[in-house]
Amino acid sequence: MSDKISRRDFLKLAGAGTAVTAILTGCGPESRYVVREPYTKMPEYTYNGQSTFYATTCRECAAGCGLVVRTMQGRALKVEGNKLHPVNKGKTCSRGQATLQGLYNPDRMQNPVRQNGRGSGSFSEVTWEEAVAEVSSALKENKPGEIAFLMGLAPDHLFDLASQLTSALGAETPLRYGALSMFEARSTLSEAAKSMFGQACLPYFDIGHSDLVFSFGANFAETWLSPVAYSQGFSQMRQGKPGCRGFLVQFEPRMSQTAMTADKWIPVAPGTEGQVALALGRLVADIKGIALPAALSAVDVDEVAEVSGLERGELAKLAELFAGAESPLAIPGGSPLGQSNGFDSAQAILALNVLAGNLGKEGGISITPSTGVNEDFYHHPASMKEIAALVDRMSAGEIKVLFVHGVNPVFELPAELGFSKALDNVPQVISFSSTPNETAMRADSIFPDHTGLESYGYQRIWTGADRAVISGGQPVVAPYYDTRATADVLLAAVKLAGGKAAQTLPYLDEVEFIQAQLMGLVSTEGGLYGAGDINTFWALWQQFGGWWKAEPGLIAPQVPGLSRAIKIAEAEFEGSGDFHLLAYPSPILGDGSGANYPWLQETPDPSTTVMWNSWVEVNPKTAAELGLSNDDVVLITSPAGALEASVYIYPAIRPDVIAIPFGQGHSALGRYAQDRGINPAELFALIFNSTGDLAFAATKVRIEKTGRQRPLARLESRVGVYGDGEG
């Protein structure tokens, strides 16, 4: 063999060899080597090889999307949206798809335990009888004022049960909180709606029928309020009407995934969004020839142009766009409301809608009606001030027992608030978490609830649907482990304790409690289905995955005059650094409870394509000034703390802003989440807006180069992106 074979020839031969092998082996007939593995005890309604579908409600966030889950032989296989459900209309987000990984998570809590010393991570197993006895004596032996419940935004049925329990005991109503409610400033939005429309609510924004949307930091294509519903609204706005393509303008300092889909991204200076809205309002009034309402009289357009960093001409162009649109809509999102002047900004942005005259109209703002199930309770999430008050009471030793369900305050609250330290002054902490999260690891006992797909429940729809909806949940599989529904534990504990609470809550179990709450709907007119009695109603409820009105119907908000001047205070910031810190909920991991799902960790972030880690976004101009390049580790210092993260050079952010996604940085929560990335909540200084919500975007930070590098795992190429890696 005198001639050497070239690489090219070798590849040709190898290719031919592979093809022959494939033909010889791969293309044979179907395999006959098949076995079936039936149940040991098969329910009558299932068959081998045949799927059974169940309608239920997603618990990954509080939006209440309807799901249909395909199960086979008692195992949940695939999650899809419920096509009939008015919120998500058959779609889901990535977190909804990944909810299966909560069910099958290897790090789930599998049975009730007591922890041998808080934070030790060593547990001794207890029986459910002992667990119920512990809860019961905690309820009985402490004074009502010494009992506190801290709950998540979902599920509502458990909140209702705990509310009835606390009111029977004379204890304080449970507080509801979640990182998403902080990042969306829900409490501020609700207060602003109250001050403008006379009703505290999260309004329904009809994006679908609007032809121009001014979104002030509302990242509705990611996590904001009801992302699946509003993303669909957006798609309808763009493609729903032939020949009319809706126009989206996004005002925010950092280009989010929502801004990427927008027609125009306007990087206004943080804290000036409300002023921009007022200035636009004034210009719109001028163009339309409306007498200037008092609300807008205080604004000086030139001054706004100067502080916000927008050209006056650009403001005028935007105002023309708004004035010329048929049904324009302005949406107050999270980051402008998370400033010290957030409440004023929210009102200014809502005032734009009043000026446009879209209240209660198609393509405008309306209020989603209630279904009437326990509507008197205080449902809206607590503001940060209310949580701070609880933390103060905990620190002072006034709280003797704390029950935690559906929320992970040690991780989700700003570290500066001192929740973690205050826990040390609470003698008894009982967690109902189904995952070993940071708060559960600081609890004395963990009595795990089922995961969402194993649970009964319901969720009231606050926003996102065009009609009154209550979304229903049912188990799609039998619980895999020795977990128990928290509602059942509370009911059993109350029964054991006796007294007034036992008389108020005489229910046998969770299902009986839920049915009692839904009783009013059986005779309600106009529903999707009618039923003569609760059992028939319950069968249909489970079949459809909830109850809703057959026809759309929204409440028109009271149209207020704009006679009261809206004054926007100058935004206050804390910290001596040069950079605004903008933390935003990760579009993939949400409030961080999804960080233990490998599917989500593996999903590249839509704007940076980074996976499995945290990063800090820095404008290329800033990076050049500071001598930073991609993957350089920087130290970020705020008045509250300091963290290290790798730099991601991101051209779509203002040079005076740095951004960090929220969701990583867990010190617990299982193998996939633990010790990965950073938690920006550790950097938040405690500044509140006037409704008591945290001004989470009002912290200023310093960044310093550490001289080290830590490469980020990212999907995009490292060569040729913004000139990086060339030459």
Binding site: M1, D3, I5, S6, R8, D9, K12, L13, G17, V20, T21, L24, T25, G28, P29, E30, S31, R32, Y33, V34, V35, R36, E37, P38, Y39, T40, K41, M42, Y47, N48, G49, Q50
Partner: protein, 189 residues
């Protein structure tokens, strides 16, 4: 370059090598074909003849055909519902026969019986029992005299020609029926 390859291939060592590799691949393919085409043994040598002889209906253990696609295979709880009550075994007068010992083991250990399906079609065929029963066919029309077999065996290869033969016959001269029954989309969708 083509000449170079031919010259390279003609080298005796290369020819021997290619021959050797071809034999290995063909051998592997034959072995692979054999193992995928041989079904595993049934976990229990189930005597169909005995059960049918005792008057048990097909639908008792395979309840699906009337209502849905799959006929279904019985679970241990169904077997044990009867066998657990047989007095002659319970009081120990008659020792448990070996096949029932296996069943008892499944029940005692709580494991499922991994039946080997006999009549199966490939995944791209969407076979459904229900219309066949509705069309007036009986089990034995396709599955043969299972009542005379011990372990069930297919009386014929369930290939497309066999399906279409029957579809053609049953359609007769009715053109509309013929189109419906011979349409690709009837089974492959």
């Amino acid at each position: 370059m083509g000449e170079k390859i031919i010259r390279f291939i003609k080298h005796p060592l290369v020819l021997i090598g290619i021959g050797f590799i071809t034999i290995v691949i063909l051998g592997g393919a034959a072995y692979g074909f054999k193992i995928t085409q041989t079904p595993p043994p049934q976990p229990i040598q189930f005597p169909h003849n005995l059960h049918v002889g005792l008057g048990v209906q097909c639908l008792y253990c395979h309840p699906g055909p009337l209502t849905q696609a799959s006929a279904g295979l019985p679970t241990q709880s169904k077997c044990w519902a009867c066998h657990g009550q047989l007095k002659k075994y319970a009081d120990g007068t008659v020792p448990l026969p070996p096949e029932l010992v296996k069943l008892k083991d499944y029940v005692d250990t709580g494991t499922s019986i991994q039946w080997v399906p006999v009549a199966i079609v490939p995944d791209y065929v969407h076979f459904n029992h229900r219309p066949h029963i509705a069309g007036g066919l009986n089990c034995e029309n396709c599955h043969g005299e299972v009542g005379k077999m011990v372990v069930a065996i297919n009386p014929q290869i369930l290939n497309m020609g066999w399906c279409l033969d029957c579809h053609r016959q049953r359609a007769g001269v009715d053109q509309e029926k013929l189109i419906k029954l011979l349409d690709c989309g009837t089974c492959h969708y």
